[in-house]
Amino acid sequence: MAEIRREGDLTVFQLEPKERQVLLEIVDRIEPMLGSSHWVAPRAYREEELEREFRRLAGEDLERARQADLATLREGLSGPLPVRLGDPEVWGWVRALNFLRLALAEQLGIAEDGWEEGYSPRQHRRPPLATLHLLSWLQEELIDSLA
């Protein structure tokens, strides 16, 4: 069973090859949703002109940074097991996981706090909600490892 622990300066993610494969497939499935997510690329300004200028200056850098974080996640999951991550890589993972969670949640129509109560226990145990919970668990564990 997957486990995350700290060993000195490194975060160690122990998981089975099958679990690794599941995570990579989840990344593959959700990544195409990022492009249409408002939460993944939110506005900075209410005013259209200022927003256009912000996008012109920062939009490409933000997109590149997102792609780099997703690449860090994929590379980590594709390398030797257990996965060993320095703190910069852990940050790349937690950012990438946040983008994936945002895009998936938006796709599911989650819009307000308390959304969990709108689903049955069975729905929580099955995809796509179980996928969201799995990504949440992984992100939370990685955040704990940073602290």
């Binding site: 939460w39 912000f54 920062a58 937690v94 983008f99 969670r101 945002l102 706090d113 969201l132 992100q139």
Partner: protein, 96 residues
């Protein structure tokens, strides 16, 4: 981030330099899925807040729907918002 273009001053009654020096608020908005623990570590990382301050700001976002996490000159505030976006947080700029 690249240099910021001159500020639009139409109707504000301020000169371009006055407008540039006016502080702007960096506002973070609640979303229903981002983990509270994540918001706290991002606030600490980007703004250097101690755990207590970062936690209070996160709770303000969660309970009130938004919180001003910094008040800075516009150029610096844009960088802060871009950094928050790079971490997947919902952040906007508003005139102080």
């Amino acid at each position: 981030m690249a240099a910021v273009q001159p500020v639009v001053t139409h109707g504000t009654g301020h000169s371009a330099s006055e407008e540039r020096d006016r502080p702007w608020q960096v506002v973070v908005w609640n979303d229903p899925v981002t983990l509270m623990s994540y918001v706290v570590v991002v606030f600490r990382r980007l703004f250097g807040y101690d755990l207590e301050t970062a936690t209070q700001l996160m709770l303000k976002v969660h309970v009130e729907g938004r919180a001003v996490v910094a008040t800075e000159p516009r150029e610096r505030a844009e960088v802060s918002v871009a950094q928050l976006h790079a971490h997947g947080l919902q952040a906007t700029l508003a005139r102080d």
